[in-house]
Structure formats: C-alpha cells, structure tokens
C-alpha cells in the first residue's frame, strides 16, 4: 500500500494519508474551520519534510474551500468588496511569507520557526477556545444566557482614515484594518500552511464588526485566493508542492467534510469547541515537547537543497 511521492521524495502508506485527509476534513466539517493548523503539524509528525507539508497543505485547503465559497456565493453571503481588499493585501502577504520561508530555510531555521509558531498559535487559540467553551457550558447549566456581543458599537477602528463603504456588510470603515488583517493572514498562510480563518473570523466579528452572516463566506473567499497564491508561489520558489500528496489529501478531505457536517449537527456547540480546544492543546504540547526535549541526534542532515 506504499506510494512514492515525487516531490517529497519518499514513500508513504497511502491509506494513512487518505485517513489523515479524511480526519482533518471531518474535523473541519464538525468545527467549521479549515484544519490546516492541524494538518501541517500532523504531516510533519508523519515524516513529510516541513517545506512540503506547509505548501501541500495550502493546496489542500484551496481545494476543500472552493465548494464552500460556491455555496456562500449562491446564498449571497460573501462581501466581495471586503473580500477583494483582503485578497489584495493577502496576496502581498503571501508573497512576503514565501520569501521569508525561503530565507529561513537557507538559514536552517524553517523547521524551528514553523514549530515554534505553531506552539504559540495553537496554545493561544486552544486556551481561548477552552475558556470560552467552559464559560458557555457553565452558563447553560446555571440557566443564564452568555453575555451578548456588542454589535454596532463604535471602537478605535472608526477613528482611522481612508474610509470606504462596504455595502454588503453595511459598514463605512477605514480600509487599514482589513488590509493589515489580509496581509497578516497571507504571511501565516505561506509560513504555516494554514487558511487563517481561526484568526480572520474572530477579527472580522470583533474588530471590523461585520455582520456574522457574511463573515464565514467572506473569510472562505479570502482563504481560497490566498492559499491558491501561496501554493503557486511555493511551487515556483521552493519546489515544495507535492501534487500526489495533495490529491490524496483532497479526496480524503472532501469526504471527511461531508460526514463531519452531519456529525457536527448532533453535538452541542460548546461541547464541540471544548473537544476541539483539547485537541489543539494536545498538538501544541506535542510540538513544544519536541523543542524542549534533547533530540535523539543533535545533528540533522539535509541533502540536495543548499
């Protein structure tokens, strides 16, 4: 059941990779996140070189996200103007990220940068999710409703210049926050192989104050273009996109999403987020462990690429 990956230049058990794609697709169906932040570390755990893991995961996300964008387009829940602004700065961010990744690779620090960023990111996201899910869970048991969001209130964002009208989101705000957000997500996508929805969705809700119904569609629209651009740039600059690996992951992923959505409908939101938070924290601790414990061999070998 082994298959040889032409770009990773190694043999893998294809049922394992298919299962991994399915599992990540299932989780993204259940939790409504892309799952890139779990797929990249898991591929690295499996032995795929970090560069190939990052670039190929970006490709997988582009494939799995596409159908989601179509669904939201039909429902008219995509703010194309807001999405367009974020895509434009996201493409610049993704190019900067691919360049940064190439520099880190030459310095021999790409692996460390990827692992350390994941520890910080997953630790942070996991802690927030755990805290939030526990609070909601407790509130439900006490019979009180969780504190509502302050929609329509003004914050510091409204003091910034270069205002633009976003009709679909019913907003008149400065373009600076969406541009910065798009740029940061672009860098994360290129360096970590993630779509960045875990960052952009909360930012769009709490900082930009976009209506919740257009947030997911607009975020998916941006993720599609930024991961596509990241894939193409990694292919062109670093030769690290493995089509065969992506093919197996996408096939597993699209099936996983469908079953995940059905399973997700049967579980309560805060229970889901609690489970997800535990999973995210376990992966973060696993990566931290690898950085802290003395490696079996302090020397490591890279052949071929300088």
């Amino acid at each position: 059941m082994e298959i040889y990956l032409p770009i990773a230049q190694m043999s893998v058990q294809w049922p394992v990779v298919l299962g991994l794609g399915f599992a990540i697709g299932f989780l993204s169906g259940v939790f409504g996140v892309g799952g890139g932040f779990l797929l990249t570390p898991l591929l690295i755990f499996y032995g795929i070189p970090p560069g190939v893991a990052v670039a190929t995961t970006a490709n997988q996300i582009a494939g799995v996200t596409f159908s989601g964008v179509l669904v939201h387009w039909k429902r008219q829940t995509v703010d194309f103007k807001m999405g367009g602004v974020m895509v434009a700065s996201g493409l610049v961010g993704s190019a900067a990220g691919v360049w940064l990744f190439a520099v880190l690779r030459r310095m021999g620090q790409a692996e460390f940068a990827v692992s350390a960023s994941y520890v910080l990111l997953l630790g942070w996201v996991g802690a927030i999710m755990l805290q939030e899910s526990l609070r909601t869970w407790r509130a439900r048991q006490d019979g009180t409703s969780p504190t509502g969001k302050r929609v329509g209130q003004h914050n510091w964002v409204h003091g910034l210049p270069f205002k633009m009208r976003f009709r679909q989101s019913r907003l008149y705000i400065s373009v600076i926050p969406p541009v910065v957000l798009g740029f940061v997500v672009g860098i994360l996508s290129a360096v970590l192989g993630v779509g960045g929805a875990f960052l952009s969705v909360p930012a769009m809700i709490y900082i930009l104050r976009m209506p919740t119904n257009v947030v997911v569609g607009t975020s998916m629209f941006q993720v599609l273009f930024v991961t596509a651009s990241t894939t193409i740039l990694h292919a062109a600059d670093n030769y690290t996109v493995d089509t065969l690996l992506a093919l197996i992951l996408v096939i597993g992923g699209v099936f996983g999403v469908q079953y995940g959505v059905r399973a997700g409908a049967k579980l309560r939101g805060e229970q889901l987020r609690f489970l997800m938070a535990i999973l995210v924290l376990v992966v973060a601790l696993g990566l931290l462990w690898q950085l802290v414990v003395r490696p079996a061999d302090v020397y490591s070998l890279t052949a071929g690429t300088p």
């Binding site: 082994e2 298959i3 040889y4 032409p6 770009i7 230049q9 190694m10 043999s11 490709n59 997988q60 582009a62 494939g63 799995v64 996200t65 596409f66 159908s67 179509l70 669904v71 021999g108 620090q109 692996e111 460390f112 350390a116 596509a228 894939t231 193409i232 740039l233 990694h234 292919a235 062109a236 600059d237 030769y239 996109v241 089509t243 065969l244 992506a246 093919l247 996408v250 096939i251 699209v254 099936f255 469908q258 950085l291 802290v292 414990v293 003395r294 490696p295 061999d297 302090v298 020397y299 490591s300 070998l301 890279t302 052949a303 071929g304 300088p306």
Partner: protein
C-alpha cells in the same frame, strides 16, 4: 585522484600482470516506480588469468551521485533545541562497499584510504564548516547508515568458484536519481592489481518522473495546475454529495 588511479590501473594492468578482471551488472538502468520499495542490483565477474596461489580478494564499491549535503547541529538555547551550527560538504548520496573478507585484513589503512574503501574513508569536499568538520561527517555517515543509503558489509562477495564472484547490492527506495558507478578491485598481497569501473543510472519512472520534471522545469505552470486540480476535485465532490442527499 581516485579516478586517476583507476585510469592508471586500466592502462598499466595488462602490461604489469596477466591478471585482470571482467565484471558486469544485472541491469545498467534502474527505475523508481510508484510502488518502489527498494530493489537489488547484482554485480558479477571473473578473475582472468590468475597466476600463483596467493590469496586474492575482491572489493566492490557502488557510489551514487555526489550531492551537496548540509549537516546542522542543534544546541540548547534558552531551553529550546535550535539549529546553531552547520557544515556543508559534497559526498555521494549512496555508498556501498563489501569484500571477500573484512577490509582491514585485505590491505593497510593507507591503501584503503587512497581508494576510499570503507565508510570512514570517504573523503568529503568541505565547502563550509563551523568548527571541526569531523563530527559533522561522522553524524552524516550515521544518518546515511540509518537510512540504508550507506552500507558496509564484511563478506558480501560470494566466490562461486576460484575465479567467479557475485555480489548482491541492495538499492533502497530512498536513493536519488542520477548516475552511479560500480567499482570492482582485485587485491593481491595487500595491493590493487586490477580494477574496473562500470556506470549505471537510477531514474524515476512513469508518472512520478513526469511530475518531478514538470515541477522543476515549469514550476509556475505546475503550481497553477495543482491548484486547479485541487479546486476541480472540491467542485466535483459537491455534485457527488448533492446527488446522494
């Protein structure tokens, strides 16, 4: 240096002694395919016109393409293990050596070193090194041994008669593509009396090869193609599940 020595032996061996070597390979072209889980190459040969009854030894070396390797050393910095030093060197991507008996019994250490016979006699061309290069080379040899890419065995040469010999060379799945050489040495009394060098090629076959070539010759088109493929699959899955639901 080594190539020169072999060339000299080619020219002078027939004149110095009647003794010589003929050798051949089971294949001169090895293909890596999608189900590739390693393979085997057979080197066979014959000692020609043996004279006298001195003990003779055969040493067989297979070398892969020279590759630029970077070895990095992690140090503990602020509690974290981080790559902190490196050495860059050219060494073969694959190296196999075996003989009729342990190499140290066949010849003196300096003779073995001259022909680069033995894992720890490989000469690396050092491009850069933070500090002494020897620990880097030693760790590289260890890593390559673990990966099955550097192999040294004591008595892999099977003598089928007084003059006929055969060697099975394991080629693991992880070998890189490129041009390889098989070198066969005939030793008598601790010295090389004949040598022969034969090339063979390892290549990626079929779909894998085409994907690799595509990715490296037209990387931009390749990137666009892989994105379109992933997107098309995602789109196709929508129709599949809509019909089922």
């Amino acid at each position: 240096m080594r190539a020169l020595l072999i060339a000299l032996l080619f020219m002078t061996a027939p004149a110095l002694a009647e003794e010589g070597l003929t050798s051949g390979l089971s294949q001169d072209y090895l293909q890596i395919t999608s189900t590739f889980a390693g393979s085997e190459l057979t080197v066979f040969g014959d000692i020609e016109n043996p004279t006298g009854t001195d003990p003779r030894d055969i040493v067989v070396v297979v070398r892969g393409p020279d590759t630029l390797m970077t070895v990095r050393r992690k140090d503990r910095i602020a509690g974290l293990w981080i790559n902190n030093a490196r050495a860059k060197m050219w060494l073969p991507a694959y190296y196999f050596v075996t003989a009729t008996r342990p190499l140290n019994d066949i010849a003196e250490a300096d003779t073995l070193a001259r022909y680069e016979l033995g894992l720890y006699d490989l000469r690396a061309e050092i491009l850069a090194s933070d500090g002494d290069e020897r620990p880097y080379i030693a760790s590289l040899v260890r890593a390559q041994k673990r990966a099955g890419l550097y192999i040294q065995t004591d008595s892999g040469v099977e003598m089928q008669s007084a003059t006929l010999f055969r060697v099975h060379v394991p080629i693991p799945a992880a070998v890189p593509r490129g041009s390889y050489t098989v070198e066969v040495y005939l030793f008598r009394g601790g010295d090389v009396v004949a040598a022969q060098s034969t090339p063979f090629y390892v290549d990626q076959a079929g779909l894998e090869r085409r994907v690799f070539e595509f990715a490296h010759t037209r990387p931009l088109t390749y990137g666009v193609f892989t994105v379109l493929m992933a997107v098309a699959l995602g789109w196709a899955s929508m129709f599949l599940f809509r019909n089922r639901a």
